[in-house]
Symmetry: C2
DNA sequence: TCTGGCTGTCGGAGCGTTATCCCCGTGAGG
DNA sequence: CCTCACGGGGATAACGCTCCGACAGCCAGA
């Protein structure tokens, strides 16, 4: 006998609606009746069919998450927190990876809509202009992660501020010859980090030599190219990587070059992935609160869902979280070759 | 007007079943009719409700994946491959994290069943005895990942062989004082790696000094405790870590101690995470083919689903994949202090 | 004793699909 | 001119669940 609510009812000698009431605590049953229902449920090993329930209730208790990939620690941490918070609040996470492919992303989006998810969280790659537009036509609440989208709910790090923090720190240590390793510098986030960094340096009259700027993917390989920076003088005394993975790659590259960190070269990363703390010396890095972003985004999304005000683009819907600078051992006071006029910190 | 198949039909002046036929290519429509339907679909921005379809078809085209966490690179890679293959074959991945908590795991399992997933992939933490039993009662095809479960379909690495490979390599290089860093040594996988390693050494008459064995979690912290191994002689000349993260931690720890890799100490890891290649020197490690595991597991599961032979515990259902040893720079020939009687490789 | 409200339970409609069966019209073949 | 096959399209019954309204039976208060 198949485990449906109707069969449970039959076995317990009651109506299906009574079983439903029992399951949902939506009515008080007489003790005897309740026992019969319990027994029938156990006998059939019955579990409610959430698909059918969803169809009736127009609510699936599922949320779609789209991220570019899962191996970048930042996204991994984000996804983990999203899953955890969703589960605590009774939702299932559907995970899809976009691989930074806009078409794939769009397919996932419409697929989610077809699956009747209650809401969508997305780290979007679409061009700025089209974002809000495309998504509004989905008629499902959407919250953007790790991206700022005007007129749409989004939760992100203040990357510009993060860049500023890194710059302030290096300047205070007396560095003037500073290099940048820019991973994925076509992405707005990275652009903001670079802008914050450059603007802050410029405020002190320091400019980054264009020859000291390397572009590439957000991977260890870009970092290992740090050697190129030392091929001809003046060599940089500090390196800012827009991403911890790149910074770790740079760290490996510097060691391979025989450079000491931080005596010869100071190194600052961005993200604060777990491994940063375990380098020797540990990496100074701008901490991006992935877990907080995940938590806040879920809170915001579930809020929108509950209040059905999903598509109202209230300005308060954009949450910008402040990164913090975690100063560790990879940065130090400039020892020699620095401008003597600059007071050391 | 709400975007349902009925409304589309009304707008196109046909019956709902005709629209259904159109959508599923299950019947040929007259060109004019087809156009009308197309137009109506576009006008209403209609997308089929997969929930309703699933209810009718008893097939959700969704698969549940349960892994302990997402930040361990191995699991991340696994999940990424699973998502990718599933998506290619028209399935959606539901991801849940167990945090190695058996209860949480069981909840996720029953939740998946309630959601009518077509199949489940799980990296299981349940005790060996209960595994097959518990899961069989779910009445849904289940494939175990990264674990060998007797009498149930599973896809895993041959961890014992992996341990052997590491041992063979170190022996050939002449090492006799060998330490082990055992992350999460209560897990069968790790037990197998240690067993393979020890057995292979013993075959050559070498035994690991119990004082040279450290246990802990699978994290960088355990690795950094490598310093404890050098507190009193004899010091090990080689270290085997049952996991790359631990190995990387050990690498950091060794550098902090002033030990050179591989001149003073050789180091072997397990997993071959991306970062291994970027250490200086790069890490010799046993590669566990996470991507292959993911792909094979999905293939196996979808196969079971299609053939409805899900619960037949055919022995051929266990797939054991061979790991490979990637020899890189972190291991070298024993230079001094080794047993001179041993021919160097 | 009658009324009215409360408690426990039931029947049925409907959520949005699709599969099955049926029907109508057309054109070819006898 | 009749038959029959076939192609295009419709009506209907589920799929498993929940909500709504209804209806007995019961007890308290008048």
């Amino acid at each position: 006998m198949k485990a449906t609510i109707r069969n449970v009812a039959k076995l317990a000698g009651v109506a299906p609606s009574t079983v439903s009431h029992y399951l949902n605590h939506t009515a008080q049953l007489a003790p005897g009746t309740a026992q019969n229902v319990e027994r029938a449920i156990a006998a059939l090993n019955y579990r409610v069919n959430l698909g059918a329930r969803s169809l009736r209730l127009k609510k699936t208790h599922s949320i779609g998450l789209i991220i570019p990939n899962i191996s970048t620690p930042f996204f991994g941490e984000l996804a983990a927190m999203v899953e955890s918070v969703l589960w605590d609040r009774g939702y299932q996470m559907l995970l899809s990876l976009s691989a930074r492919d806009v078409n794939r992303e769009m397919s996932h989006l419409t697929n989610f809509v077809s699956r009747q998810v209650d809401g969508i969280l997305v780290v979007y790659n679409q061009e700025q202009e089209q974002r809000a537009q495309n998504v509004r036509s989905l008629a499902v609440p959407v919250v953007f992660l790790d991206r700022v989208v005007r007129g749409a709910p989004s939760v992100a790090t203040d990357n510009y501020l993060g860049g500023q923090l890194a710059a302030q720190h290096l300047r205070k240590l007396g560095h003037r010859q500073i290099a940048m390793l820019c991973g994925q510098s076509d992405i707005q986030n990275v652009i903001d980090r670079m802008a914050g960094f450059n603007d802050e340096l410029r405020r002190d009259g320091v400019a980054v030599d264009p020859a000291h700027v390397l572009h590439g993917a957000q991977d260890l390989e870009l970092g290992s190219r740090v050697s190129e920076l030392f091929s001809r003088p003046p060599s940089p005394t500090a390196v800012f990587a827009t991403n911890d993975i790149v910074a770790i790659g740079a760290w490996c590259g510097l060691i391979a070059l025989g450079k000491r960190v931080p005596q010869d070269v100071s190194l600052v990363g961005f993200d604060d992935v777990e491994m940063s703390r375990f380098l020797v010396p540990p990496l100074t890095t701008v901490a991006q609160p992935a877990a907080v972003i995940g938590r806040k985004a879920v809170d915001l999304l579930l809020d929108l869902i509950d209040r059905k005000q999903a598509l109202a683009p209230a300005d308060g819907n954009t949450i910008l979280l402040e990164p913090t600078l975690n100063v560790r051992g990879s940065t130090g006071i400039l020892e020699k070759g620095g401008d003597p006029a600059v007071p050391l910190y």
